[in-house]
Symmetry: C2
Subunit: 435 residues, 2 copies
């Protein structure tokens, strides 16, 4: 006997058993329904791409985390680490075939060789949606409204979508003479929710000094009302700031639509990533502030500039499905796992095998999920199996029933049972009880 | 300006644009409906596994094709090349948590660095389903019936599921004294459909000589009826052959159920893979014989023996989704691509942006997919966009309508239009016309 191989998965990777996988599919199904209502169709791209496509000619902060290797043909390839970069490549590759503005969603796995200590996974799933080809308040607004729709359709009730404008923040920093330090400042502000206001202030002070830190900390403070916040931003960043009109219009529309309680204009939202240029937003659950944003996004005005000279302004957001599922589990609002089949046809006589499969076929033809217990085993084993799978009805057809041409039906939940049914009556009875 | 990166995908990999991706999702949805009716729940496993798990301690024929590399942690890892091996590892890892018999399906991508010249892809999708923990005619039968159900639900009409018994074939070869050559013989027979009878005969002759080749060629010939074929197999392999009773029972049940025209007992079906021990089957389209089998499977009685000492007999099948889609395209029975949204709210006045999004929200609340054109552009551009996206209705709300508090609706297909509707009437009218 040769030694066994331990059946383990890689650290940061997971199996999804039927219960969890059917819940994940149900969540994706609800998100897809929201996306469909907003007119976003699906696309797919390869899991593996040229490393140059994913990392650019240089290679940035993410490089260390990327699964990168040389394939059989000597190509330098990598597993995608997000859905945004492959989408940029996709847009550049298919520009002539796509209607602009172009909307799409992509629900798929991505991989990052991250430190798994903080409950992070190395294989995780994202659902991204974007509108490309329009730099407009309407596209920004649609993104925000779709995030709201997705959260509501998942049964999340206490959530807030916080938004701001990265361009306005940049103008503000430029007014303070901090343009050359803006990347560092934005990164610290982006961490503020996690590390706390005090620590963020200390880190800022080291870079820009106390006086400017005070101004920045004031700038990122939410006002008593959206109007107040807008006024404060305007006073600090200047009314001429490119994004000010956009931010004002978005705020007005959200108020017009009666969504003021869902959306908070929050200038501390900056998003760490370099590519945002306009709207930025994050979504927080009031009951689970510690898990951070479960849907984040914003506007980037040069999506695909690595691959094409055509200007492709876009706006979109990304749902972190694993974090979302963890949150829904904690809030006890995960969709129910898909049930087992409704009926188990018991296997009582070898000679009746065809009949068992015929009855199952008749149930299925009526839309009722059914299966035949695969072996002629003792009754307790078959009952135990039905219970473990959550199967509600047993269809009984032994020698006795075969002689009469009938079947018995048993509701395993209520223990009620019906005898001497014709197979067609059993189907009808099951249908009726399932209603 | 820095040089652009060419936005190309790797050879053998593909993007799926909205039309094709929504068709793929529709096909998977239909398969999932069939699987649900048969009581198969979904699972998922990691894309990346330890190479040892996927390839065993040695490493077989597939090795050259496997995407294998060393990760950041120095681990020897690989992308899965099928869904069967990860499933075996999954069963061994989760035995204590799973009800036996255990059924599951897995619809996911796999990767093989194959020669792409024959229209093969390096990234492709499989839909696998299996029943583990029962070595029975009923489980074999359920697999065959589920293949039939899947094919029918996809709208395939002219298909044949050919089945045989690998164990019986082995006994036959053993009776001819060819046990030590059985792998080679089985591989040649497996190729016979592709290379032709004559060539297969020549290749066999080289290995076993003319006399035995004649016997083998006779054995793999389908008889005039299932009964004839059964008799012929029995005469050649011996009635005592383990699998003979199973094969007879399966044939009887398929006939009892009235499916004789769908299923052909065909002793030339052997499947190349080593792990099959009992039933083997392949599915052919009568109108496209050249594409080969679109759903193949069989029984393996030691699924997970690399990872556990527990015996795990199983039976299942695998649908090659890419080949299936290519066939459905050729037969012109691909499901229609998901339509764009039903309504485009035209963007006519900047000041009315909130109203546009409110009307879209009201349509969506009634279950009607709707989107707002994202910019205030000239009418022809908005009409052209609606046409490209296949959007049926335009909702019109300009200065004039705003003054009256009404909207106009236009059916872009029939050119009919309705004026002076209240927003609620427009929703009702759209609903009515979509019915």
């Amino acid at each position: 006997m040769s030694a066994l191989i331990e059946p383990k998965v890689l650290k940061g990777f997971r199996d999804f058993l039927p219960e969890r996988e059917s819940q994940r599919l149900a969540i994706i199904g609800r998100l897809e329904e929201s996306l469909r209502l907003f007119g976003f169709p699906p696309i797919d791209t390869p899991v593996l791409e040229y490393a140059e496509i994913l990392l650019g000619k240089g290679g940035g902060e993410t490089d260390k985390q990327v699964y990168r290797f040389t394939d059989h043909g000597g190509r330098d390839v990598a597993l995608r680490y997000d859905l945004t970069v492959p989408f940029a490549r996709f847009m550049a590759a298919h520009l002539s075939e796509l209607p602009l503005p172009f909307k799409r969603y992509h629900a798929a796995k991505v991989w990052r060789g991250e430190n798994t200590q903080r409950g992070r996974y190395r294989e995780f799933m994202q659902v991204d949606f974007d509108i490309v080809g329009a730099d407009s308040a309407s596209a920004d607004l649609e993104t925000l409204l779709l995030i709201r729709e997705c959260m509501q359709r998942l049964g999340l009730e206490r959530f807030t979508i916080r938004y701001a404008h990265r361009g306005v923040f940049s103008e503000f920093l430029s007014g303070l003479g901090l343009s050359d330090k803006s990347v560092d400042v934005l990164r610290i502000i982006d961490k503020e929710r996690k590390i706390g206001r005090e620590k963020a202030g200390m880190m800022l002070s080291e870079i820009v000094g106390d006086a400017l830190t005070a101004k920045i900390m004031d700038f990122i403070t939410v006002g008593a009302s959206t109007m107040d916040t807008l006024e404060k931003i305007k006073a600090a960043a200047g009314d001429s700031a490119d994004g000010m009109a956009r931010l004002t219009e978005l705020s007005r529309c959200l108020s017009d639509l009666g969504y003021r309680d869902r959306f908070v204009l929050d200038p501390s939202i900056t998003r760490g990533l370099d590519y945002y240029t306009g709207l930025v937003c994050e979504t927080f659950l009031s009951d689970l502030p510690e898990i951070g944003s479960i849907c984040s996004g914003g506007r980037y005005n040069e999506l695909a500039s690595l691959y094409t000279r055509q200007s492709l302004p876009g706006v979109g957001a990304s749902i972190g499905l694993d974090r979302l599922m963890a949150a829904m589990e904690e809030l006890k609002i995960l969709p129910p796992a898909a049930a087992g089949p409704s009926v188990l046809v018991f296997f009582l006589e070898d000679a009746l095998l065809s009949s068992y499969h015929r009855y199952a076929a008749e149930l299925r033809a009526a839309g009722i999920p059914a299966e035949v217990f695969p072996e002629n085993k003792k009754l307790p084993a078959q009952f135990a199996y039905a219970e473990k799978r959550g199967i509600r009805f047993a269809l009984i057809h032994g020698q006795e029933e075969a002689a009469k041409g009938t079947v018995g039906l048993k509701d395993l939940r209520t223990r009620e049972s019906w005898q001497d049914l014709s197979p067609a009556e059993a189907v009808e009875k099951t249908k009726e009880l399932l209603r």
